[in-house]
């Protein structure tokens, strides 16, 4: 089934039954996310850390003792390792950021030896539910890679295609963005986009269709593309927008959130288990959606 909005995502995830969300301590909005995920029928929370604090947090958020589990871990430095153990031993399904600061958490999670990374490339997909548009659209990479190489962009595209599949989009249309729609050696992102488009033409990304380079006006508006002489099934109909680097990815995602007012939920891709980051620019209204997307991404779904 194709999921076309955030409400449907929550509904479809809830049908799969509660998943075990492991929370290594509390920080930021994690408890709010968790309690809303419990209310939506998505989560069975497992707290790791100071048991007294865990009990207090559960009570504060209206989570009954029977609705979750508290595992005592006195040493704060071991909390994340315990969470990893639970995931690897299949005693938990989804990892939340918890108390760890952003950089330390992401570095630990994406550590190739001790962390949860399972792909060549990790990336972050911002999923948008634009008003008056009857489908979800994705923008990537909006958080993880600063200036990805072509090889990393291939991984970023593959991650986004995987997420699209989970959302029921089997042949996603992908706009590889750049400053202009022409290939220009002075602008390296135009070259990467052209190569990705050629790879797609040769079916190296399965049924996905990549067009590039495209400037944003051609990507979002078939009329604008027509004015520039660009004809493609992707223009005006893209499911996934691939950004050239984090400058454009991060800023475009935030512009969509704050100026366009688009609801956005983020998904970390490239890990063995779904991981929910606690980013401050994801609105509290979208936090349950992130939980739902994590449930949909669980292995065996």
């Amino acid at each position: 089934m194709k999921i076309t909005n955030f409400r449907e995502a929550i509904k479809e995830a809830a049908k799969l039954g509660r998943r075990r969300f492991v929370l290594p301590g509390s920080g930021g909005c994690c408890m709010e996310t968790l309690s809303s995920a419990v209310r939506e029928g998505l989560a069975f929370p497992i707290w790791i850390g100071d048991a007294g604090e865990g009990k207090k947090q559960f009570e504060r958020c209206g989570i009954a003792a029977s609705e979750g589990e508290i595992l005592e871990e006195k040493n704060a430095e071991n909390v994340l390792d315990r969470a990893f153990e639970l995931l690897r031993s299949r005693k938990a399904d989804i990892l939340m950021q918890g108390a760890a600061p952003h950089e330390a958490f992401v570095n630990r999670v994406l550590d190739r030896e001790k962390g949860l990374r399972n792909g060549k490339t990790a990336s972050f997909v911002s999923v948008f539910d634009p008003e008056k548009v009857p489908k979800l659209t994705m923008l990537t990479d909006t958080y993880i890679n600063n200036f990805p190489t072509l090889e990393e962009k291939i991984g970023i595209v593959e991650n986004a295609i995987r997420l699209a599949g989970v959302l029921g989009i089997d042949a996603p249309k992908i706009a590889a963005l750049s400053a202009i729609e022409q290939v220009n050696p002075a602008i390296p992102s135009t070259l990467d986009a052209a190569i990705l488009a050629k790879m797609s033409e040769r079916k190296q990304f399965g049924a996905a269709v990549i067009e590039g380079p495209l400037d944003i006006d051609c990507a979002v508006s078939a009329g604008a593309a027509m004015r520039k002489g660009v004809q493609s099934p992707v223009t005006g109909r893209a499911d996934i927008y691939l950004t050239p680097n984090v400058e454009s990815g991060y800023l475009t995602a935030q512009l969509n959130v704050f100026i366009a007012g688009m609801p956005m939920a983020g998904v970390l891709m490239g890990t063995s288990h779904p991981v929910i980051l606690d980013l401050p620019w994801v609105s509290i209204e979208s936090k349950p959606v992130e939980a739902a997307l994590a449930v949909l991404l669980c292995p065996g779904k």
Binding site: E32, N146, D217, E247, I259, W281, I284
Partner: protein, 307 residues
């Protein structure tokens, strides 16, 4: 202070008509915009381009250009050189890009500037966001692919000049960056830090470089968590000038107006002698007409300040 495109359009009616030279008027949308601008008495056009193409277009669009001043030229660089020279010599007040690659126009501007004040070339894209109490802008959205510190100082100088002309005595400048909680520092953020220092030392003139480097910073300073219901455009302390990290990012951000109904965009280059309006090849007549109105007001104010 001009706070919206509507105010600019109203002022353009009062201050027009100005002489606008159109470089390669072979684009239907641009010519329709010129026609509309004549009706609104914003401009008196001068057309430079191919005679054959002008005649074909006037016939196709049923626009009478018999009484419009025309200069026939087919070489693109010659078209740009002639038009920009007319701007710098004071024969016209505004130049506008028709169906000609921007590189020819930038080259012509650089040559003219080299003879005088040596103002660098950068594109400023104004945004009028519904609900915001003033104009904002992105720059440089058209020329410098990967500007360094020096280039960004000049980019800021051009944008500050425009905002002074529009009546903003001390515009606030945000140096946008993809720096976030992870990934270490990145060049755009380091340049931003140096620009804040340069501004504090008085090197950037009458402006203020603010700390905010992303939209999250702008909307919710010290952002920890937010609700969509808290976002009130009318209460946001929005900077007038947003310096983009690089051309690609600038181009992507500024043309998101295609997807955001509450936003309108108008782009121009500030030269020492007047504005050059630079519509995107995908822009439609309404947007181009607005850019012409902006050019009229800016040209008028530059002249007024000079006299």
């Amino acid at each position: 202070m001009l706070r919206s495109f509507a105010e600019i359009d109203k002022t353009a009616v009062e201050k027009g008509p100005k002489r606008l030279v159109v470089l390669a008027p072979e684009d239907e949308e641009f010519i329709e915009a010129v026609k509309e601008s004549m009706v609104r008495r914003y401009i008196e056009p001068v057309l430079i381009g191919s005679r054959r193409k002008m005649e074909q277009l006037s016939e196709k669009l049923e626009i009478d250009i018999s009484r419009v001043e025309k200069i026939y030229e087919t070489d693109r660089q010659a078209i740009a050189d002639k038009g920009i020279n007319m701007l710098f010599s004071g024969e016209v007040d505004i130049a506008g890009k028709g169906q000609i690659p921007t590189a020819y126009i930038y080259r012509a501007i650089i040559r003219e500037e080299a003879r005088g004040r040596k103002r660098n070339v950068s594109v400023i894209s104004l945004w009028d966001i519904e609900g915001l109490s003033g104009l904002t802008s992105f720059t440089d959205t058209g020329v410098n692919i990967n500007p360094d510190l020096q280039a960004k100082k000049q980019i800021i100088s051009n944008a500050v000049y425009l905002f002074h002309v529009l009546g903003y005595s001390r515009p606030r400048v945000s140096i946008l960056s993809g720096r976030r909680e992870i990934g270490g520092s990145i060049p755009s953020y380091e340049i931003g830090r140096k620009l804040r220092e340069a501004c504090a030392a008085g090197e950037l003139g009458a402006c203020e470089v603010v700390d905010a480097a992303s939209f999250g910073d702008i909307f919710i300073p010290g952002l920890k968590k937010f609700s969509r219901n808290e976002i009130d455009m009318g209460k946001v302390d929005f900077p007038e000038i947003m310096v983009v990290p690089d051309l690609t990012t600038g181009n992507i951000l500024v043309k998101l107006d295609f997807a955001i109904p509450r936003v309108r965009r108008r782009s121009l280059v500030m030269t020492s002698r007047g504005p050059v309006i630079i519509p995107s090849r995908s822009d439609f007549r309404e947007s181009i007409t607005g850019e012409i109105a902006t050019g009229v007001v800016v040209a008028d104010r530059i002249k007024e300040a000079a006299s």
